[in-house]
């Protein structure tokens, strides 16, 4: 009879006749046989010869089969060395003892050659199955180890890209699993040169490496453009175009992008495919929800992409709560979803903002029956003036000599007014002047203010008085969008002049517009409202610049910085 594979079989039997008979039967099946007369010999031979299968008499002198079985199993470790007990014992209890001592099967005397052969084959199948399982387990463990290592390296690289973030700011509380990146979740925060805070929460389709791949370019666009002061729409357009270009068709990134501006007392929001953002009052009530109004990033071609944002007044101490879809998607045993309603209950019951995340996680665990470690939460409080961050340094000194005496004129006309914002370019240019670098934030604020005044009050003829209350605030931005869409004629021109002076230099800025101008003395005399939503602009310009005047009936702003 051909054996599938010749095995080394250990036969331990104290009766010489039986031992001989068994050895003969097994040898005829094509296996190699080693024999022992008692349990102690069997264990010693097992160590020496490492047989793949053991036939063990239960009752033997010196050491019985039960003890020998225990020792052989312990020596074999994880590999399966089948032990077949040879026994004339008939009582149930003794047979049970054989199996409990580690035996895999037993065989009653007198021995049948056919049954023994079948049992050896069956045991060999089991042995090989166990070997395959162990090999696969080890392979999986190796792959898993490899994967974790790759993830650790990828995360370390990503953290370097994202290092500039300000998630640690005092007004942000967030929760994110350390491997959220590999769940496709992405959380970024940075200050603009003007001191606004930008926050992005994103969620790529899918899991694992594919989900993490898009995060890197997205973070680079976010940090790069935010630090240079590009406005929300430009950052969004760039992120969308980049993802559209690099991601496969079925991958995209749901995202919500926020810009918190102290100066405007407002937050600008764009939500594409993320769950509602909750606007919470100082005492934690839900004031409003900011819904997803757009397709996620990376789906639409650049020319179809809609980067329009919403403005919402936000006073100091009010908060915005951002969450990933894992919160709403948590399902219970009946596949019911946690949903908005249960989330609202948690928000309504919350008394201490510091406890909100814990309460939410607990509610999810109770509902879904297990803790979640794959969700992202971010709670942002509108900061107050004292928390205004130090301005980021945009460029290290390159050591090149920088021009000190130059001027530049720039005019944005007609349809270009709709989408183009020249401020970041000008700020970047002015970065070349060492004496101005420390004031980048102020420069950005002043130029932004002058440009938006010229555009909104000048070219578009909007009245800032509209922004006196929350409704008016919304109306103002709606009207702004409407008039901007229709703008035909009109211009804003900007002239920069840099001159050296004995101990430093001077930058003169002139911003002129095609609008009707305004009553300069009365607007400047108007008291600055404490908590109103308008009227901060001119006052701020006067405070930040060395000198500020309005000429030509309000159509031309003249501002100076000296150093």
């Amino acid at each position: 009879m051909p054996a599938e594979q010749a095995l080394t079989v250990l036969v331990a039997e104290d009766g010489a006749a039986d031992r001989l008979l068994l050895a003969q039967i097994v040898r005829r099946q094509g296996h190699e046989v080693v024999t022992a007369e008692n349990g102690a010999q069997a264990v010693a031979l097992f160590v020496e010869r490492r047989p793949q299968l053991v036939l063990l008499d239960a009752l033997m002198p010196v050491m019985d089969g039960f003890e020998a079985a225990r020792q052989i199993k312990a020596l074999a470790g994880e590999a399966l060395v089948p032990i077949i007990f040879l026994t004339s014992l008939n009582e149930e209890e003794a047979l049970v003892r054989c199996l409990e001592a580690g035996g895999d099967d037993f065989m009653a005397k007198p021995y049948s050659a056919a049954i023994l052969a079948a049992k050896i084959r069956a045991m060999d199948r089991l042995r090989r199955l166990q070997g395959t399982v162990l090999a696969q387990r080890d392979q999986i463990a190796r792959h898993h180890h490899h994967l974790l290592n790759e993830q650790r390296v990828a995360k370390a690289v990503f953290d370097k890209v994202a290092h500039a973030g300000c998630l640690a700011a005092a007004n942000i509380r967030y929760l994110q699993s350390p491997y959220a990146l590999f769940n496709g979740d992405l959380m970024l925060a940075a200050f603009t040169p003007a001191g606004d805070m930008r926050v992005l929460l994103g969620d790529f389709t899918g899991h694992g490496l594919p989900a993490a791949v898009g995060a890197m370019p997205l973070a680079e666009v976010f940090y790069g453009m935010t630090a240079k002061g590009y406005d929300m729409a430009e950052v969004l357009r760039e992120m969308n175009a980049k993802l559209k270009r690099i991601l496969p068709v079925d991958m995209f990134c749901c995202a919500v992008l926020l810009n918190l501006s102290m100066q405007c007392g407002a937050v600008e929001v764009w939500n594409g495919g993320m769950p509602d953002v909750y606007h919470l009052s100082v005492d934690g009530r839900v004031l409003s929800v900011l819904q997803s109004r757009h397709l996620p990033l990376g789906i639409l071609a650049a020319e179809c992409f809609d980067a329009s944002t919403e403005m919402l007044p936000l006073v100091q101490g009010e908060r915005l709560l951002l969450l990933s879809d894992g919160v709403l998607d948590t399902a219970d045993e009946q596949e019911r979803l946690f949903g908005d309603r249960r989330l609202r209950e948690v928000l309504d019951a919350n008394r201490d903002p510091a406890r909100l995340f814990d309460e939410l996680l607990l509610a999810l665990e109770r509902f879904g029956g297990r803790p979640r470690d794959d969700i992202s939460l971010c709670d942002i409080r509108m900061f107050d003036a004292q928390e205004r961050p130090p301005m980021p340094v945009l460029y290290a000194d390159s050591g090149r000599s920088s021009p000190q005496d130059w001027s530049l004129a720039f005019e944005v006309r007609g349809a270009s007014l709709k989408s183009f914002n020249p401020v970041p370019y000008m700020v970047q240019l002015l970065q070349e002047i060492p004496g101005l670098r420390a004031r980048t934030g102020h420069l950005h604020s002043v130029l932004s203010e002058l440009y938006s005044n010229a555009l909104e009050h000048g070219v578009l003829g909007l009245d800032s008085q509209l922004k006196c209350d929350v409704q008016g605030f919304a109306d103002y931005y709606q009207e702004r969008a409407r008039r901007l869409a229709l703008v035909g004629e009109g211009y804003v021109s900007i002239r920069l002049r840099v001159e050296p002076r004995p101990q430093g230099g001077r930058l003169s800025i002139e911003v002129r517009d095609s609008g009707a101008g305004f009553d300069v003395p009365s607007v400047l005399a108007r008291a600055v409202p404490d908590h109103g939503l308008s009227g901060r602009g001119l006052n701020m310009v006067q405070q930040l610049a060395s000198d500020a005047r309005w000429a030509e009936g309000g159509r031309c702003a003249q501002v100076e910085f000296q150093w």
């Binding site: 389709t205 068709v249 079925d250 495919g273 397709l295 789906i299 979803l337």
Partner: protein, 100 residues
């Protein structure tokens, strides 16, 4: 079959029906459903009547279908349950697909 297809007699309209959860496990079946059809259709209808849940990878699969269909073929998504409709609405997919 969790993904069923039905082609009208004139071969102009292809209906793809998804039963149960519409997630990544249906990826291959869903692709086969439209890639293995002979000729070109005028309209592809994705019927979600028996779809209990839809995740973001299903949204990705709809984008693949839209890409495959191109400009000339209309893609309709019909009969979503209220839960499924909500997921489509959060992602604003009604801007891409005719959803009814």
């Amino acid at each position: 079959m969790a993904v069923e297809t039905d082609l009208t007699q004139d071969g102009k309209t292809l209906t793809i029906k998804i039963k149960g959860r519409f997630d990544f496990s249906k990826h291959q079946e869903f692709r086969d459903a439209y890639e293995r059809q002979p000729g070109r259709q005028d309209c592809v209808v994705v019927d979600l009547k028996d779809t209990t849940y839809l995740d973001s990878s299903a949204l990705g699969m709809l984008l693949l279908l839209r890409d495959h269909a191109g400009e000339t073929v209309e893609v309709q998504v019909v009969n979503p349950s209220s839960d499924v409709r909500k997921i489509l609405a959060i992602s604003n997919f009604e801007k891409l697909f005719n959803i009814s």
